[in-house]
């Protein structure tokens, strides 16, 4: 691990006063594990939520770095609705450990509700800057993400389906102060 860290620091040193930019393909950690899919079942006249938690390993050695921005540059999901009419929103939580992702303060991005009805697939774009207060989490060697689907059903029949993530690329821009 030390050798990897040294190698990375040497590589980053080459950027001089430039920035270190991390393009994290979070989807690649979730694809094929089942964690890229969130089933939902919203009873009539209620709200409900379901989520998946994923651990992301990052290069070590950036603990003292200062993160400038964290942005989702390419995020996509499909809402594969199988019945009922309602609304599905997405939230992304970020924390240094899995339990921390359930704290309200770990909310990094909120995607407004999208309407679903009957049997249909609705694409959703996930994009935007993550909450700046959580930037420092991305300097740690391990980051935990929780992707939550929150549903609202104002009608009399259940809303069922699943949210399938198809892309989630997070761009982390680190200011200098690498060492």
């Amino acid at each position: 691990m030390k050798a990897l860290r040294v190698s990375l620091l040497v590589a980053v040193a080459a950027c001089g006063e430039g920035r270190a930019i991390f393009n994290i393909d979070a989807y690649s950690f979730m694809a094929g594990t089942g964690k890229d899919t969130i089933p939902y079942l919203i009873p009539p006249a209620t709200t409900a939520s379901a989520s998946q938690v994923q651990k992301i390993n990052l290069p070590p050695g950036f603990g003292s770095s200062v993160v400038d921005t964290v942005r989702i540059t390419n995020g996509r999901a499909n809402l594969v609705n199988t019945g009922g009419t309602g609304f599905i929103g997405l939230q992304l939580y970020v924390a240094a450990d899995s339990l921390g992702t359930y704290n309200a303060g770990a909310l990094a991005l909120n995607i407004p509700e999208t309407g679903v009805t009957g049997s249909q697939t609705v694409p959703v774009t996930i994009t935007g800057d993550l909450s700046a207060g959580l930037n420092s989490v991305f300097t740690k060697p391990t980051v935990w993400l929780r992707l939550a689907a929150t549903g609202r059903n104002p009608n009399a029949t259940p809303v069922t389906g699943r949210m399938i993530l198809t892309a989630l690329m997070i761009r982390v821009v680190v200011k200098d102060k690498i060492f």
């Binding site: 691990m1 030390k2 050798a3 990897l4 190698s7 990375l8 590589a11 980053v12 040193a13 080459a14 950027c15 001089g16 006063e17 430039g18 920035r19 270190a20 930019i21 991390f22 393009n23 994290i24 393909d25 690649s28 950690f29 694809a31 992301i56 390993n57 990052l58 290069p59 003292s64 200062v66 200011k175 200098d176 102060k177 690498i178 060492f179």
Partner: protein, 452 residues
């Protein structure tokens, strides 16, 4: 005769091996203005060519001064920009500062701010992008990829810290102290592709830096001879003639150490699903007892004919030291406990080291019109550097220019001038250099005062 000498001069300058070297830094603005060429018969010439011990060091050769005092304008500016009493909080030296740039620090080491930097070689400032996936890790250094060495890189030199003795009739007995070190590092193909071509780190793959370092020091009783074996047309009153020099050294090494082996890491599968395993598996050789012994020698020849002069010298020929009592250990990184483990492989065994052959070839042509042309090829233990320069003196004024081929095999250029007012001369020399982590050249302005 002179045609032959000129032909030999050109041959020396053209056919000499083109590899890196030191001896390109000087405190003399005259030398810097000539691309690194020294027109006096001291310094490198006497160090590397034993025949020069017998050649008079003409004070008037090329207007050579008695001594030169550098004017360190660069040091003054550096101390203004970086006050000594504030070094602890200076962003340049404080890794906790957001402005800390390790490349700048390395550039400072490689290019000490003695003289004024007219144009600093810019440190690379491009962004570096890391793309991280479960089974992918791409490092895109952008424009800084040019800094990743294709071949072995490192540092080293072979120097003589001490050389005292006395003699008569050209013969000399003395003692020489020597210090030699060489550290070479080579990126393996996999790691080079990752850093230079932005190739993804792959699963279950080892990435290594191969290291080979040696350091040895000691002293050597020496007997030598230097003398004029043939006199030229100018007779005894002139320096014309052929000079030969040689020295035999009995090396007595004080101590040595050598380490070879790889350092790096091995990825798991997937790349970011498992922790990479650090790799360090080196072999360390150290001498248990002093007095590694060996024989070696220096030879040199100088030919002077009127304004022409050419010489060649080589040091430490055949210098192989035998160390009678050596310890050989294996040093490797152990992931459990995050520690280094030493294992004794063998002890009290014989081992051998070599001192690299260092050499110089030089030529100079002093015309009667105030023009002097010179060149040298120097290898001080880690490659060769070439200097070619010219000086034109007109009355109290001098104009100089030169070119050199440096350690990076890049052409560098020098130019400058000077004025001599009686016993005092003021010289300015400009020199391009690539002594920094930058693909672009910097320009240094050297200033010095010479006393004639």
């Amino acid at each position: 005769m002179r045609t032959g000498v000129v032909a030999l001069t050109l041959a020396v300058l053209v056919l000499a091996p083109l590899r890196p070297a030191r001896a390109q830094f000087s405190f003399d603005a005259r030398r810097i203005g000539m691309g690194g060429v020294s027109l006096s018969r001291d310094g490198n010439l006497r160090r590397y060519n034993p025949a020069y011990r017998a050649v008079k060091n003409r004070a008037d050769a090329g207007g050579a001064p008695k001594f030169t005092i550098p004017v360190p304008l660069g040091l003054i500016k550096f101390l203004q920009d970086h006050p000594v009493n504030q070094l602890s909080t200076d962003p340049m030296f404080n890794p906790d500062s957001a402005k800390f740039n390790p490349i700048e620090v390395m550039n400072l080491i490689f290019n000490p701010p003695i003289f004024y930097e007219v144009r600093k070689a810019p440190a690379p400032t491009n962004d570096v992008e890391f793309t991280i996936g479960k089974n992918a890790f791409v490092v895109d250094l952008g424009a800084a990829q040019v800094l990743i060495p294709e071949q072995e890189f490192g540092l080293g030199t072979s120097s003589r810290l001490l050389d005292i003795g006395s003699g008569f009739g050209g013969f000399r007995v003395g003692v020489m102290g020597f210090l030699q070190y060489d550290v070479g590092l080579t990126l393996d193909d996999s790691l080079r592709r990752v850093l230079k071509d932005a190739d993804s780190v792959r699963a279950n793959t080892t990435y290594r830096v191969l290291g080979d370092g040696v350091a040895q020091a000691g002293f050597a009783p020496t007997v030598g001879y230097a003398g004029r074996v043939l006199r030229g047309a100018g007779g005894d009153e002139s320096d014309d003639g052929v000079y030969l020099g040689g020295a035999l050294h009995y090396y007595m090494g004080g101590t040595y150490a050598r380490a070879t082996g790889p350092g790096g890491f091995t990825t798991g599968n997937p790349v970011f699903g498992t922790t990479p395993v650090a790799l360090l598996d080196d072999t360390l050789y150290t001498s248990n007892k002093p007095f590694g012994k060996g024989l070696g020698g220096d030879v040199g020849i100088v030919f002077v004919s009127g304004p022409f002069e050419v010489g060649m010298g080589a040091n430490d020929i055949g210098a192989e030291l035998t160390w009678s009592d050596t310890k050989v250990q294996r040093i490797r990184y152990v992931a459990v406990g995050d520690s280094l483990a030493k294992t004794l492989l063998t002890n009290h065994v014989q081992s051998k080291t070599k001192l690299p052959i260092t050499y110089i070839a030089n030529a100079a042509l002093r015309m009667g019109t105030g023009t002097t042309v010179g060149g040298d090829v120097v290898n001080s233990g880690r490659g060769t550097v070439i200097h070619v320069g010219v000086e034109q003196r007109t009355g109290p004024f001098a104009v100089r220019g030169g070119v050199s081929r440096d350690q990076r095999k890049k052409m560098q250029f020098g130019w400058g001038g000077g004025v001599r007012l009686g016993p005092i001369g003021l010289d300015v020399g400009f020199w391009t250099h690539s002594n920094s982590f930058s693909p672009k050249r910097g320009i240094t302005m050297a200033t010095s005062i010479s006393v004639y």
